[in-house]
């Protein structure tokens, strides 16, 4: 009798175990964009973005765990000023130089984090580390919105999750010290992220 009860319990638990397993996702490079912003000369806010990022994500809503790894090719940065015009160089070219992102020497930056807080089924906060210019420092993100569901573009055949996250860091912590002050030390991040379940 006890053996039948055990077998029954195991059989009943199997579907739950299957749904509770961590799910892995691949970042959608076309709808996942890290934006950054700095204050210029204590006046306006200048925004930029990186394109063509890649990464992966895991999510286990039952266990309230998740992780994310993102790789950003730094040479893809753009602030909307890529044409030098009658100047020697454009702002984007300057941002790619050793004064800022030093893309020739450090072609990628990475972010690795784990969901540290959940709001219902949704990750609400991520604790992680940003590696920029060869320096790794903690950078935490707040998840502002999040949703998962069938992808309507595939008539629901594909399942995906996505949302927005924000955070900030001091660029001087990573050795990016050029004209700290005229260009703010604090860099704010705003990231849109979508990922397809594998």
């Amino acid at each position: 009798m006890p053996s039948k009860l055990t077998a029954g319990l195991i059989a009943a638990a199997l579907p739950l175990a299957a749904t509770a397993a961590p799910e892995s996702f691949t970042v959608d490079p076309y709808h996942s964009i890290p934006y950054f912003e700095v204050v210029h000369l204590n006046t306006s806010i200048i925004r930029g973005r990186f394109e063509k990022i890649s990464g992966k994500m895991t999510l286990d809503t039952a266990a309230k765990t998740g992780s994310i790894e993102i790789t950003v090719p730094t040479a893809t940065l753009s602030t909307g000023d890529g044409d030098k015009g009658d100047r020697p160089r454009s702002r984007d070219e300057h941002l790619r130089s050793p004064d800022f992102f030093n893309v020739a020497e450090f072609p990628t930056m990475t972010y690795k984090g784990k969901a540290s807080k959940f709001s219902g089924d949704h990750p609400a906060a991520i604790e992680g580390e940003l590696t920029l210019l060869g320096v790794t420092k903690p950078v935490n993100l707040t998840v502002e919105r999040w949703n998962c569901g069938p992808d309507p573009r595939t008539q629901g055949k594909r399942y995906f999750c996505g949302g927005n996250a924000t955070g900030s860091f001091k660029r001087s912590d990573f050795g990016m010290k050029f004209i700290v002050g005229p260009v703010s030390d604090e860099v704010k991040l705003w990231m849109s992220l979508e990922a397809f379940r594998n």
């Binding site: 030098k84 020697p88 160089r89 070219e93 300057h94 790619r96 130089s97 050793p98 004064d99 030093n102 020739a104 020497e105 072609p107 210019l133 060869g134 320096v135 050795g175 010290k177 050029f178 004209i179 002050g181 005229p182």
Partner: protein, 271 residues
């Protein structure tokens, strides 16, 4: 107020390094160490702009390390050896090796076709500038100072046009130290001692910064080649009987013309 002043790039790369260089040139000139004005100027700029952290050891930090080590090597060479062609050749080879050490990790990330030209320019440029300056200029403190002034200004302005303002400030700092060393000679009317102490301090920093602006930023390779000819221009003949200040002005002007060409090329590069 003072903090704003010290945060000004013109102070960080120009005024403060010049004052530091001038103090060293005046105080140490009598001990044949006036050439340390350049490292004093460069170190002052580094202190204000980036600091003396060396982790991770990036290409820029390698240049700073070598810039601080070069005058020590120069003092050793000056006091331990007589200037010979072999010595100049060995120093040129050391310059080439330094360039390879700094830039190989960056160039190794590129394919061969894209790495060959900037790599060769950096290595051969370093060998040429270091070797030529040691062989032909180290014994003439006026010409070597004029060369350092023009090479520093040319490297600085060209690097700025190549989208690397930090390198620009370092180049200007080298010019400020060289200018301080030259100014003391012009005012006193007496030649100082340059030697490898001065020429290595100038050439190692200047040519490696120019190469870094080429490999890590947007300075075209042919600007670096032209910059490498600045010491040749500063070595052109001047009237032998002319006053020392006039020789200094003429040698500097020769150097400025060549440095100016490098800057014009840098401005117009990139389409």
């Amino acid at each position: 107020m003072m903090q704003d002043l010290l945060a000004n790039p013109a102070v960080q790369g120009g005024a403060a390094p010049f004052i530091a260089g001038l103090v060293v040139a005046v105080l140490l000139g009598r001990y044949r160490l006036g050439g340390l004005a350049v490292v004093a100027a460069f170190a002052t700029a580094v202190y204000f702009i980036a600091g003396f952290g060396f982790t991770p050891l990036t290409a820029t930090r390698k240049i700073i390390l070598l810039g601080l080590a070069a005058p020590l090597a120069g003092i050793f060479v000056d006091f331990a050896f007589r200037p010979t062609r072999l010595g100049s050749t060995l120093l040129a080879a050391a310059g080439a090796a330094a360039a390879a050490w700094i830039f190989w990790p960056v160039l190794a990330q590129k394919d061969l076709a894209r790495a060959l030209l900037p790599g060769a320019t950096a290595v051969l440029g370093a060998a040429w500038v270091v070797g030529f300056s040691e062989q032909r200029l180290a014994g003439d403190s006026v010409r070597s100072a004029a060369s350092g002034l023009a090479l520093g200004i040319g490297t600085g302005v060209a690097a700025i046009f190549g989208a690397a303002l930090t390198y620009g400030l370092y180049g200007v700092a080298v010019a400020a130290g060289s200018g301080a060393f030259l100014l003391v000679q012009m005012i006193t009317g007496k030649r100082s001692y340059a030697g490898a102490t001065f020429t290595l301090s100038v050439t190692v920093v200047a040519i490696l910064i120019a190469s870094a602006a080429m490999i890590l930023a947007q300075l075209p390779w042919y600007s670096v080649v032209v910059l490498a000819l600045v010491p040749v221009a500063a070595n052109l003949p001047v009237p032998a009987g002319a006053a020392l200040w006039l020789q200094a002005v003429l040698s500097s002007l020769y150097g400025f013309v060549v440095a100016g060409i490098a800057c014009v090329l840098a401005w117009h590069a990139g389409g």
